[in-house]
């Protein structure tokens, strides 16, 4: 049997020019009165993809999902599913199913009846329904809870029932609205992996809406980062993190240090950047930033090394003072104040129990990073 990792590694239809998108948003706009929830958005999702829509509340991610489910119609633009225009098709005739944030379990029905509800609507024979319900209960490991009502279940169990009910009809696409939002942290982490396994087992296309970037990074093949109804970037989790396309994405996903400035000089692929507050940075990859243009140099905290002595060599070395320390157990985050007043965050993994180079508040410190550690952002 192929391991999950192998399947995932080979899976990248978005890089194949001849691959046909399964779900397509074409110039979709949705307005509620004066408020524009989704603004001229285009997006392609591929078959069997685990796709995440990530954004803060009010960014339009739920509206996108609701338009796909059929609860809202786009004000303009087109949504295609497997080549078919979805306009005018009511939710009860769409081959997609949704798992609701509130789970929306029917309170007057047992777990079994909840799962069977969708199958009954299709007029499936009773014996087949029973078989499918039993399969679903087994899949989510809730066999002994079949006769219970939703209010007799814990939060995690309810989540599983909601999931079983949504996949029972074997939809072409499963939509998940904040699927793990109501669970506590530990359960959430377990469930993330269960969801990924389930998606591979059933071979479905998943579209998940979340505001939790960790959740999106863990589960999704690709992430679309949304802001004010527009797509900021669509990329794999690693690309989003290591090669953010804009200041917004860089700032939204994870922690980052930003140096606003100008490109002082370009040489080949690299550049020298002079920040507005007097720091000069050497970077090996400056993309298409033209000399003299306004850019931001962005670097993640874990790519900055902090030491008490000046490093002997390094592309970028700066002197500063320890301003604040946050000890998190697995790592320590240092806030280092540079000579120009800017505070830079640097994190170091606590790989050993005792630190060889102990640093304390107000100590003089040096930060250094390689010339390929950061990215230059033009937008």
């Amino acid at each position: 049997m192929k391991s999950l990792g192998n399947i995932r590694r080979e899976f990248a239809p978005w890089n194949k020019p001849d691959a046909k998108p399964y779900i397509q948003f074409k110039d979709v706009t949705k307005r509620f009165g004066d408020f524009t929830a989704v603004n001229n958005l285009s997006l392609s999702i591929y078959e069997r993809e685990f796709f995440a829509l990530l954004g803060a509340s009010g960014c339009g991610k739920s509206t996108l999902l609701r338009m796909l489910a059929g609860f809202e119609e786009p004000t303009s633009g087109q949504i295609l599913l497997d080549g078919q225009d979805l306009r005018g098709i009511p939710p009860y005739r769409r081959p997609v199913n949704m798992m609701f944030q509130s789970y929306a379990l029917f309170p007057h029905m047992t777990v079994e009846q909840n799962i069977a509800f969708g199958l009954k609507q299709d007029g499936m024979p009773k014996a087949e329904i029973d078989q499918r319900v039993a399969d679903m209960l087994k899949l989510v490991k809730l066999g002994q809870f079949a006769k219970r009502k939703p209010h007799q279940l814990s939060g995690g169990q309810r989540q599983r029932v909601a999931l079983a009910r949504a996949v029972a009809k074997r939809p072409k696409v499963l939509l998940l609205d904040e699927p793990l939002g109501a669970l506590d942290k530990k359960l959430r982490e377990e469930t993330q992996f269960e969801l990924m396994d389930l998606q591979q087992t059933l071979g479905l296309t998943f579209v998940v809406v979340t505001h939790d970037q960790e959740e999106a990074m863990t589960m999704a093949d690709r992430i679309a980062i949304l802001d004010k109804g527009e797509v900021m970037q669509v990329a794999t989790p690693a690309e989003v993190y290591e090669a953010p396309g804009s200041r917004f994405v860089a700032d939204f996903v994870g922690n980052i240090n930003m140096f606003e400035g100008k490109v002082a000089d370009r040489d080949g692929t690299g550049a020298t950047i002079a920040s507005a507050n007097g720091v000069t940075i050497r970077t090996a990859n400056a993309g298409d930033a033209a000399a003299g243009s306004e850019v931001a140099f962005a670097i993640r905290p874990e790519k900055i090394k902090v030491s008490s002595k000046k490093p002997e060599s390094g592309d970028n070395v700066m002197e500063g003072e320890i301003y604040d320390i946050a000890y998190l157990g697995d790592m320590t985050i240092f806030h280092v104040q540079l000579g120009n007043g800017q505070v830079v965050k640097a994190s170091s993994l606590n790989a050993t129990r005792a630190t060889e180079d102990p640093l304390s508040w107000d100590d003089k410190a040096w930060i250094s990073f390689r010339n390929d550690a950061g990215v230059v952002l033009t937008r």
């Binding site: 939710p91 009860y92 199913n97 169990q157």
Partner: protein, 272 residues
């Protein structure tokens, strides 16, 4: 907190309950009076109950009351539920505030005015007053009570339940009957019970809108009392009180038991 039985507490409770229930207790006691005189105790007897059931006038009135109550409560429940649905669901139509105000106005409208205006309407359109107009009038005033009860339930109703049903393939009408209706049914039932209770004890509006052959029990009792209270009336009232009390107690017990069971289940589920 000091919850002991202080003298003040006891006095307050006794006075309060006496104020509320003394008249009713007297009425019940005197319904078992042997004597024909209402205020003089002549020994225990159930003969007034027997004579009550032989009093054709009272029995006819009781039958009218029950029929009007059943029909009007049912119609009022249907209309009131529809009004509540419209008011909670279609929040953006023009004149919604006016409409909701108009639905609830009869709650505070003096009964005399409601009764008189209905009478004028029936006369104007040439409807002969009787069982039909009486029932119409009862539907009119009780439907707003149903609307209030059902609306308060609908406000907390999770719309995503309906969306989930539609998402799973149920068209809107099926969704309503399979999901919405069962979930709000307890509120609809209590709305029906409220409407029924209001109907069987209404006197003022009934007096305006009823006609020959459609005398309700309260009207009958009221007219008989003007000729002097008989122990028979006491007996009739006692039966009415018993019916209402049993209904109210049963309803609240059922509700309470369901609530307790639900809480217990939820706690059990939390424990895992």
């Amino acid at each position: 907190m000091n919850s002991s039985w202080s003298r003040f507490n006891i006095t307050a409770i006794v006075l309060g309950f006496a104020f509320l229930y003394l008249p009713i207790v007297l009425l019940v006691i005197f319904s078992f009076n042997e004597s024909k005189l209402v205020t003089v105790w002549g020994g225990f007897s159930t003969k007034w109950y027997v004579s009550l059931f032989n009093n054709q006038g009272l029995m006819d009135a009781a039958w009218v009351t029950i029929r009007v109550g059943l029909i009007s409560a049912t119609m009022a429940t249907v209309l009131g539920t529809l009004a509540a649905l419209a008011l909670t669901r279609y929040t953006r139509f023009r004149g919604r505030v006016l409409f909701s105000g108009m639905v609830f106005a009869p709650l505070v409208m003096p009964e005399v005015i409601t009764g008189l205006s209905l009478l004028l309407l029936f006369v104007a359109v040439g409807l002969d007053r009787g069982f039909f107009t009486l029932t119409l009038a009862h539907i009119t005033f009780s439907m707003c009570f149903v609307a209030v009860v059902v609306q308060s339930r609908l406000v907390t109703f999770d719309r995503s339940l309906e969306e989930a049903a539609m998402d799973l393939g149920a068209p809107p009408v099926k969704t309503f009957f399979q999901i919405t209706l069962p979930v709000i049914l307890p509120a609809i039932i209590s709305g029906w019970m409220l409407a029924f209770t209001l109907s069987i004890d209404d006197l003022v509006i009934s007096s305006f809108t009823s006609g020959p052959g459609a005398t309700t029990l309260p009207m009958k009792i009221y007219s008989q009392v003007r000729l002097g209270v008989t122990p028979e009336i006491n007996a009739a009232c006692t039966i009415l009180i018993a019916i209402v009390a049993v209904g109210v107690i049963a309803a609240s017990l059922v509700n309470k038991r369901r609530e307790v069971q639900r809480l217990r289940d939820e706690q059990a589920a939390q424990r895992g």
